[in-house]
């Protein structure tokens, strides 16, 4: 059986109906565990003090904000190439979740910036490219909302997602060129030992897993909603025809 079978609405609804609790419950558990661990049971950093606790929300949300866009890009490509409706609807379902993740990363980053850099906002490349990502999410969602016909909307938003991805990468590069920045480099690599002590690292991993699972849960749930909505529209149309 190929993965494309799940692009059939029937198969998708059946599978996710059974699958959803097995994603949602671990998501809640992991998230609760990670955040509580991070908040209550980790020591303060000798330089950053208690603000290091922001790590456990800032980093996972920042990563999910990027990953959500990546998922939308893949789903858009699948829609454009194979015309599987579920794929287009999944991309639509993911966008608001990605937007919220971006917002969380921006807000927690801004709050973190005040004690660390002495400013809420700086035109640092990492921050700036997140602001641009935020705009892309807004535009993508606004385009879905603005188009009446769902297939048309799927086509247009997919094209936007493709072109937008290219320009988002370009912006990232341009922004680097433009300003060297204050923000931490990537420390979440495999050779992480120089960067982060285990006391911070393990709860962060749990939080990361929690955010990933939460994202999955929400996307599955929202895709199911979108499929039903699509179904509702089709039925309304049929009723009019009759």
């Amino acid at each position: 059986m190929s993965i494309w079978d799940y692009a059939n609405p029937k198969k998708f609804m059946q599978t996710t109906d059974r699958l959803l609790p097995f994603v949602a419950v671990p998501a809640g558990l992991m998230l609760a565990a990670g955040l509580l661990w991070g908040f209550f049971l980790t020591p303060d950093d000798y330089r950053q003090g208690a603000t290091v606790k922001l790590l456990y929300i800032h980093v996972p949300s920042a990563m999910m904000a990027i990953n959500a866009w990546g998922m939308m890009l893949v789903a858009s490509l699948v829609w454009l190439i194979r015309r599987h409706h579920v794929s287009a609807l999944a991309a639509k379902a993911a966008a608001p979740v990605g937007l919220v993740m971006t917002l969380i990363a921006l807000v927690t980053g801004a709050i973190w910036g005040q004690p660390m850099w002495g400013t809420w906002w700086a035109w640092d490349p990492r921050l700036t490219s997140f602001l641009i990502l935020f705009l892309f999410y807004l535009g993508y969602i606004a385009l879905w909302e603005a188009v009446e016909n769902p297939d048309t909307a799927a086509d247009l938003t997919s094209v936007l997602c493709l072109v937008g991805s290219v320009f988002a990468l370009l912006s990232r590069y341009a922004v680097n060129f433009w300003n060297q920045g204050l923000h931490q480099g990537a420390s979440l690599s495999l050779d992480r030992e120089q960067n982060m002590a285990d006391v911070f690292w393990y709860p962060l991993l749990v939080c990361l897993a929690g955010f990933v699972l939460l994202f999955l849960t929400l996307v599955l749930l929202r895709t199911r909603t979108e499929i039903r909505l699509r179904r509702l529209k089709a039925l309304e149309a049929r009723e009019r025809m009759a």
Binding site: P9, K10, A237
Partner: protein
């Protein structure tokens, strides 16, 4: 009539449609439409408001894909004239027409202007024409398109009796040159020779009664069965 009398080169003026279903906003509106049109023939499409005449004509012109069925005949052979006139208010009558002539690579606009009684108006900006004058200009565009199949949506809206006669003359000349024409209308076009296709029997049935569903619906009825 001072129109070019040469026959059309390829692509030619035949159009055959079999089992065509067309959809508007993803909803099937017509299904099972079949007809064939050979050079020199005209077909008048009739049917009540909202049955799907405009949708059918747009599909024939290649502006939207059919939901099912086959259209034989190149979309490149079709010149389309819809409800909207496609005129630029700030360009003069002659400029509007010359533009379309240039796009279609046809020669002069003089004969087309004359055929639609626009010669006296040719220096006027199109925005200052009355409703019927605008429509005449939109029809003159068909003449300069040089295309063999004319597909027209309610071509005689706003035209007075004299202009309807002019239009009928132009269509007859086009047919005589080996062209073909498909026209949707509610009123008499003064073309007694034309075949008539009433769309009422082809109204799409709801999927429950065996009608076509949109592509999405196919996998879908099962999902909620």
């Amino acid at each position: 009539m001072p129109l070019r009398m040469d026959r059309f080169s390829a692509p030619d003026a035949s159009l055959a449609v079999t089992g065509l279903a067309v959809a508007r906003a993803g909803i099937a509106v017509l299904e099972g439409v079949s007809f064939a049109l050979s050079p020199g023939q005209a077909l008048v499409i009739r049917g009540p408001n909202g049955i799907g005449k405009t949708t059918l004509l747009r599909t024939l012109s290649g502006l939207q894909p059919p939901l099912a069925g086959r259209i034989e005949g190149a979309a490149e052979a079709v010149a389309y004239a819809g409800h909207a006139d496609g005129l630029k208010a700030t360009l003069t009558v002659a400029e509007n027409l010359s533009f379309w002539a240039a796009i279609h690579g046809s020669a002069g606009i003089g004969p087309a202007l004359a055929a639609m009684n626009l010669t006296a108006l040719q220096g006027r900006p199109a925005g200052s024409l009355s409703a019927g004058q605008k429509r005449r200009l939109a029809l003159a565009r068909m003449l300069v398109s040089g295309r063999p199949v004319w597909v027209m949506d309610e071509p005689t809206v706003s035209l007075d009796a004299g202009s309807v006669a002019l239009f009928a003359d132009a269509v007859r000349a086009h047919l005589a040159r080996g062209g073909a024409a498909v026209m949707a209308t509610h009123i008499d076009l003064g073309l007694p020779g034309a075949a008539v296709l009433d769309l009422a029997p082809f109204r799409a049935r709801p999927p429950a009664e065996g009608g076509l569903a949109g592509r999405f619906d196919n996998g879908f009825d099962e999902a909620f069965a």
